[in-house]
Symmetry: C2
Subunit: 418 residues, 2 copies
């Protein structure tokens, strides 16, 4: 008995039959004696359809109006799912972001949640309702409709779980759980039974598309146990994502992932004086552009160069901003490299085992894969390689670190009621 938050994506609610399947999964959890809140995305290709419609009206739709438009997608899903649950004889009530009180910043198309009101949720749960909440959307304190951007529905679910101090947040998806790498690239990879937030975060950040990092970060921050599980196989418990402090055994390398969505930008010939990096990254931050890898190096002639990567979608904006600060920072050229992929190994156990980085570089070298840029953190080592080498790098690294026959991690102590 506890509070379970479930989240189903657009594919899971793509048509009335699938909506009934979701209703069954929801009711199964309710029958276990739990209070259930279910968060859903827009049906199937609804969001794409709405975006297409907007583009037919104007090539440059206003982001406030896009949020007004797109938020209708989830509202359709919640109404239909509530109806389906009621049809099976259970009490259900749908709530959009405004009705719940999913309060966000006043930024459109990628707002962050700042608060979730729980009074109505608790009231409806007390009345034995299954609550169906629209994911991906929120509302500003002024009543403006916002959307949360990529990974928004997962984040909605985790944030609601955190606000209600839920026992678990189950993210239903079309895969069986989390894998050490993409099974389409390494078919004999094993499903991971338990992984830490930190590892999952790094895997998500570098391109394991199962969960968006925002949702994992929120789960980590509020210590919400997450399960990634299959909506097609309700008996499979998927992968549990918990705090590293609850795990006894972890492998040095828990996963390998690649991210081909970035571009590398190189600013060269910069004068070696303080404040240059601050100017560049300050201007980018002010425009909400996330920078990933950053390397600064001093050349023999006394000038600096700064290389960094951004999401390819942000390239045009980035170049515009760099052109604005170009004179201020005295760069003599801005070079763009689109032919990159970031390949990373991730593992909470890395810090205890020396030589992991050397093993990684050697494995890549043995496969004739050239490294363009390296960055490391406590639980991650990333190498920039040429795009066409990404898959062979993943295969080489999975083999190098024995991920093709991963053993199940062991979980210690009192886990929440799973």
């Amino acid at each position: 008995m506890g509070i379970i938050v479930q989240k189903f994506g657009g594919t899971s609610v793509a048509d009335p039959q699938k909506i009934h399947n979701v209703a069954n999964a929801v009711i199964k959890e309710k029958k276990n004696g739990n209070d259930v809140i279910v968060v859903v995305s827009a049906m199937g290709h609804t969001t794409d359809y709405l975006i297409k419609l907007a583009k037919e009206v104007t090539q440059n739709p206003d982001s406030r109006e896009m949020d007004m438009l797109l938020s209708t997608g989830e509202q359709v899903s919640i109404a239909l799912l509530a109806m389906a649950i009621q049809q099976h004889g259970y009490k259900a009530i749908s709530m959009n972001g405004q009705q719940v009180g999913i309060i966000t910043e006043n930024i459109h198309s990628k707002a962050r949640i700042v608060d979730i009101k729980t009074d109505k949720l608790n009231k409806y749960l007390k009345e034995e309702n299954i609550i169906v909440v629209a994911g991906f959307q929120g509302v500003t304190p002024d009543g403006e409709i916002t959307t949360l951007g990529r990974g928004g529905s997962d984040t909605s679910a985790v944030a609601i779980a955190a606000a209600l101090k839920a026992d678990r947040c189950d993210i239903y998806t079309d895969v069986e759980g989390v894998y050490a790498t993409d099974p389409r690239i390494v078919p004999n990879i094993k499903k991971t039974d338990v992984i830490s937030y930190e590892e999952m975060l790094e895997l998500a950040r570098v391109g394991a598309n199962v969960l968006h990092p925002r949702s994992v970060e929120t789960a980590k921050q509020f210590n919400v146990p997450l399960r990634v599980r299959s909506s097609f196989n309700l008996d499979n418990l998927g992968t549990l994502i918990i705090g590293v402090e609850n795990m006894e055994i972890y492998k040095p390398v828990a996963g390998v992932a690649a991210d081909s969505s970035q571009v590398r930008i190189l600013l060269s010939g910069l004068p070696d004086q303080p404040g240059t990096a601050a100017k560049v990254f300050g201007a980018l931050a002010k425009n909400h552009i996330s920078v990933d890898m950053i390397i600064q190096s001093l050349a023999l002639n006394g000038t600096n160069s700064i290389a960094f990567t951004v999401d390819a979608d942000d390239l045009n904006n980035t170049v515009n901003i760099l052109n604005q600060v170009k004179n201020e920072i005295n760069t003599n050229e801005i070079l763009i490299d689109k032919n990159i992929a970031k390949v990373s190994i991730v593992g909470a156990g890395m810090v205890d085992r020396p030589g992991i980085a050397a093993d990684m570089f050697r494995a890549l070298a043995e496969n004739n894969i050239n490294i363009k840029m390296i960055s490391t953190s406590e639980i991650k080592i990333s190498c920039l390689v040429e795009k066409e080498n990404a898959n062979s790098a993943i295969k080489a690294l999975c083999k190098e670190f024995g991920l093709e026959s991963t053993e199940t991690a062991v979980v210690k102590g009192d886990l929440p009621n799973l």
Copy 2:
């Protein structure tokens, strides 16, 4: 210079091209120096599509969830129309019913508006925005989404015009204005230039589908000048609907209309004692069933019979309720007649001209049309006839009362700035 509220129906915003046409009509009014609020319905067949989707999920969708579902239709329209207006270089902002504060009763699928907040509307108007408001929807004081039922978007527009003390409310539609009867039945009928609320109300009530009576009632109550005009011909001013006190000349019969959507119910063999009618109509009112014509008559044997008409959609509910009170009122039978149409003549001048009723009955008799039931009011006479006689009755009455060559009514005094 003033405040103009415009309303466009679903056909007018059925696709991106049509949405741009609406944007042009809106901007035309803005260019005249007016503050403009535009109320729109859901695009084309969106509402039908959503209803179909709900029916695929469950045969008996909950009305709260239906409102949650259907209200998305208008929200899509307002976002797209705001984008289109912006694309033409004008400031625009969309608002759903919740955001405006269109406060309704806590009844789903046919809520009535109880209040409209004007603070945000006035704020956005002051900032030179064209405001695009979702019609058909509102919100209860508790934040529950409601819809207004039939004629809802027209009612939204008129109610907003009333709340803002607008100079005029223009209802754009696919006809050129109001006709004395349906032009599909009497092709040489003339468009009416000016008509009173009262006449329009009676015409609407008896089946002239141009405007729903709720919207005309609201306009009358708050003295909002209404224009019914064509969205395809912006130069045609359509029909102005104003208070009868502002009209100098009106014809005895302003219009003829028929309504085939009702059924007649006959309760016979009722004991002649007080309270029977109160019981019957009290029970129906309690269940929100509107009764139209009512006739009670005493038979020779001392028993009463009551005949009345209700909307065909309400027939099943009505019969259920009658069965519940059957023993209490001692009726010996409930007869249902579905083969009826109500044909009415309407005119504010009727009261000054005796013999109009006799002329109506004679005209019907000369055309071999049998009258099943008659009811009269100050500005209307209605006859129930067999359904198949409805059209010939309309033709006969238009001829009888000279409506095929209607002269334009003359308007006296100071009209609002039109």
